[in-house]
Symmetry: C2
Subunit: 378 residues, 2 copies
């Protein structure tokens, strides 16, 4: 194997596939990155067996030569060392050659690295995915819907299924739901699926976070394929595979109250900043809990106390308050997470009493719903 | 005590004095910031008893009213909570009032914080310093000389005196020396001291690092006062006190070789980048060690090896090499630290054999000297 490549392309591809490589793997070859040179170009692969990422650099793009393949072949190189080396190569051009016994020589300017490679045939194969059920989402929309749901998944392994985001496609609507059983985030987006069949998959939150880091902010389409136990995201020159979580995702629709007793309409940023300030002194025995009480004259009072230290109280002006008076306590962190997931503008918070879950929506956007369970303090 | 203040002034002063407050103090009142309102303005004090910082906000500056003092007095507030609160206050104006039993009310917009304060009379007094031996250094020069010497101090408490930088003033020259006994950094700068007497002090490295963070990058003069066990840095509206280290600083002048057997002149950046690359594979049994060997034709070879992984070798072109051939090994980290402390341009490295300390100087600047002890490997 021998090729000459522009350093910036090498750095980008290696950094992308590195995101799948874990230093804590029990399979030694997965500490490496697989590099394959074919007549068409270069393929880089990284994997921790849950997530696998493949990045392709074509020989040519838009008339520019990106890689000059002198000899086809493959090698696996230690990801940690290789990743650091490519970032620090001195010149814009890098020469790469595998000689006898998988010795890999990387030359750039007057620097010459000599790395011991591993056999590429021992590297696990990527999942084979039949591409029959595919649909597409614009990259920036995909990143939004990840951001708006993934923060709500559980970080505890006591109910592993809740560490994933549930993707449910029914009648041309993709509904993404994340919940840790104390709060829930839901975002829906219309899609076109070739097949009229319904699809459901629970994607590990960790996979979605890594995917989000790799995707750019364009509105190019990402092609998505869901199979029984894998999901594949295909963007330009990039394949991102994740295993799916096994098990039944709970029916979350019955959690969501269909009616409300108190509705508060207010500006999301004003409310967020007020909760943020109250959280500074929300360090009592019930950590991070703030109180909300409706007041006369269309305003709410946000307050919290840390014993010994002090307390904070603030009035927030609302657009409107309808229905019953209310005093309720909730986690400041959950509330801030939920508010940050909503677009700027006015929101409606719908309560059905101090002990029941309440929901938060944008006034102008029905596609996002946030739900939080209150805490008993009043 | 009661005053009204612009939030940005409050934030700056609190952030400055916070740098002296440690969360691990055994003296409860030192977890707080002392605030004193006088007819002249506001004084903020933070201290961990090693370092004390005082920031003053005058009532007026350049015709602008910064603080409106309604009632003089003092209070001590928990630094962690108070520091977070001031950053998140909603409006540009903050009203501050201490009512009965040291309850402190901080109002901004519709937010009202109520903090339990401590008695300011219980706060330790700052060191009383007789200002007889004072000299001045421009702020940016002071920051340079800290940066160029403090990295070399010891981080181990086995010889506490080496955790400080030695400041020696003799015949109008301030010489700053840091060493951990494996490497040494020295920077000298001419100063004008009113008194013709010589002065010597060992300043804790940690104090100098904190000072450096607070100082801006202006060339305003900083006034410096050294006493038997304290040093005081005075810049505009800011007092920075540090205790000095007790004990005799070793005589480092005899460590510095007066002659050399091999002199290498080369460009600092080229050499630094080459050492940086070699350090990527310098993970053998002697961690972080790279080798340097002189070659024919005015170049040196930098190399290193990590067993199992691979090796790197690179030639660096020199301006000149004079004297004996040389093969030597040294810590890549020490070399990079030393090179980063030197200004851009050409440097001379003077060796007196593979087992003796060597020195690094800028070709055009005699005021900085770096010394490194080699490692035995060749």
């Amino acid at each position: 194997m021998k090729f000459i490549i522009q350093r910036n392309h090498l750095v980008d591809s290696v950094q992308d596939v590195m995101k799948a490589v874990s230093s804590r793997t029990t399979i030694p070859i997965l500490t490496g990155i697989k590099i394959v040179a074919s007549e068409e170009g270069l393929t880089f692969t990284g994997s921790d067996s849950d997530i696998s990422i493949e990045s392709f650099i074509p020989k040519e793009e838009a008339g520019d030569e990106l890689v000059e393949i002198k000899e086809t072949g493959g090698i696996v190189l230690n990801a940690k060392f290789f990743g650091e080396i490519v970032k620090k190569l001195p010149m814009d051009t890098v020469e790469f050659e595998v000689v006898n016994h998988r010795q890999t020589i990387i030359k750039s300017g007057k620097a010459e690295f000599n790395l011991n490679g591993l056999d590429p045939d021992e590297y696990p194969h990527l999942p084979q995915i039949a591409e029959d059920k595919t649909f597409t989402i614009a990259t920036d929309l995909l990143k939004s819907l990840i951001r708006q749901t993934v923060f709500a998944v559980s970080t505890s392994e006591t109910r592993p299924i809740l560490t994933g985001v549930n993707w449910q496609i029914e009648n041309g609507l993709l509904v993404c739901t994340g919940t840790d059983s104390h709060r829930l985030a839901r975002r829906s987006v219309p899609i076109t699926l070739d097949d009229s069949e319904n699809v459901q998959a629970v994607i590990p939150g960790k996979s979605l976070l890594e995917l989000s880091k790799i995707l750019d902010d364009s509105n190019d389409l990402v092609e998505i394929v869901i199979t029984e136990n894998q999901i594949l995201f295909k963007s330009k020159h990039l394949l991102f595979f994740s295993r799916l979580l096994e098990g039944n995702y709970p029916d979350t629709s019955r959690l969501i109250p269909q009616e409300s007793k108190t509705d508060i309409t207010l500006h999301v940023k004003d409310f967020l900043h007020s909760i943020d300030r109250a959280s500074l002194l929300a360090r009592g025995e019930r950590n991070n809990v703030v109180k909300l009480a409706t007041l006369e004259g269309n305003s709410v009072e946000i307050s919290s106390t840390t014993p010994e230290i002090g307390n904070v109280v603030e009035q927030v002006q609302c657009e409107s308050i309808t229905g019953e008076e209310l005093k309720i306590s909730f986690s400041a962190k959950y509330m801030m997470d939920a508010l940050k997931a909503l677009e700027d503008g006015d929101i409606v918070i719908s309560f059905t009493g101090a002990m029941r879950p309440f929901i938060i929506r944008s006034v102008n956007d029905e596609s996002i719903l946030q739900l939080i369970l209150p805490v008993r303090t009043f």
